[in-house]
Symmetry: C2
Subunit: 254 residues, 2 copies
Amino acid sequence: MASAKTGRSDPARTLALLWRGKEPAARGPKPGLGVDRIVAAAVELADEEGLAAVSMRKVAERLGVGAMSLYTYVPGKDELLNLMVDAVLAEADRPADFTGTWREGLELHARADRAVALRHPWLVGLSTPGLMLMGPGETARAEFAMRAVSDIGLTPREMADVVNMVDGYVRGVAQISADIGATNRETDVGYEDWWAQATPMLERFIQQSRYPALYGVWAAGAFETPPEEGFEFGLQRVLDGIEAWIDGRTAVPG
Amino acid sequence: MASAKTGRSDPARTLALLWRGKEPAARGPKPGLGVDRIVAAAVELADEEGLAAVSMRKVAERLGVGAMSLYTYVPGKDELLNLMVDAVLAEADRPADFTGTWREGLELHARADRAVALRHPWLVGLSTPGLMLMGPGETARAEFAMRAVSDIGLTPREMADVVNMVDGYVRGVAQISADIGATNRETDVGYEDWWAQATPMLERFIQQSRYPALYGVWAAGAFETPPEEGFEFGLQRVLDGIEAWIDGRTAVPG
DNA sequence: CTAAACTGAGTACGCCGTACGGAGATCGGC
DNA sequence: GCCGATCTCCGTACGGCGTACTCAGTTTAG
């Protein structure tokens, strides 16, 4: 594994960077690069070779430039990772003119996030900036979600809780899927192949006598296909839970 | 940020390591260390200084030993990280003699995971071995959860989906909380302080006119306390969703 | 035209994971 | 009791990393 932290150092600088708040500057030579090109190159690199392959030298090489040139535009690697997260979050299309029920809105929100996570498996390996370092992508996400749960009589805090719950579910499941995907990529075997290969070894340790419930589920083949299909199932259950709560809630005071 | 991948190289070797399947070996000098002591030292280090501080050299130093000595017991850093994950997962106490409803069982399961995640914030930054590389800790977790949803008429696949959904929710929310905790630790300011400090900067970018829904929730102060309190709320909604589905399901064929 | 301001990058430092090989300890077989 | 096999421990070294420092070269304001 490798782990990633995001958002250290000066928050003001990072926020300005996220929102591209920089006047073009006179006096010097014209910039040959730019934050956008650097971030795009880093995202490509991560998509193709994984997060571990993203180093300042490799990103620079991809741009035909010396490693240290990147530091003209980006304070450091942490900030670059932050920018990458916000950039791919902005990819998801959440129609600005969306009108629909809160449930349809949250469904769209959740699926958009999931699509991004599947397209960029390295995303879930990075800590979210969350509300701490909101860039345009993260902000657009949040705005869409909040709009979906507006006008149904929730307090602001309840709105935040509901959205956080859906976000949490999507992130957690995406991370589990991404782990499996990463394992497959690294070992060059598919999920089924890996499973077939690992079964004899697992049999040695996970005996029916010690883990009867797990063994039963396992022996029935419930783990033989990747859990991705369970995403929609879980999403609907999450939304059902919210719906029941909303119904119960509006019924009381109404 | 830093990201972590887990479970590369030889799965058989790693599995054997996770289950400590090693005969004590005659012939050589008595081992001075041991997998358990190495893992414990690494976990301590991660708890105290964060995941980024976990290097082979630092772990070895903490044990009063040369860096390369660790490789006698552990094939590499990836495997050590895997062992750390399984070790802390095993910490959670899930009573073996638990009897209760499926809902009580899943609640206990979810809270146990959350307690571990709060005690070891670095955990969520690591990919889960998941089902790919199950050690004793992960297996005990899964067994408890599966037992909780046994005997309520679910198919094995449905059991797996339900458990995966709860696990996903807990993981996702824990990761969001951990990110905030990490930001606080690194910047040496509390959540409220950070928020107060960042507000003027955010005001510049997140204008009411462009993000009315988000702005409203934000201006109402819904983000001024950490979202940890929302965990129980979301958990209950998740369980409500499952309950509604189970009721609807058993009602039809019954 | 000059000087200020900026871009771009070479060099270097201190970390990291870990391959390699050797020194010393320990024990089975004789 | 001894020897060789086998094990533990670890010093050295290599290639890669993030990035501090420094300086050369370019562009424009005045």
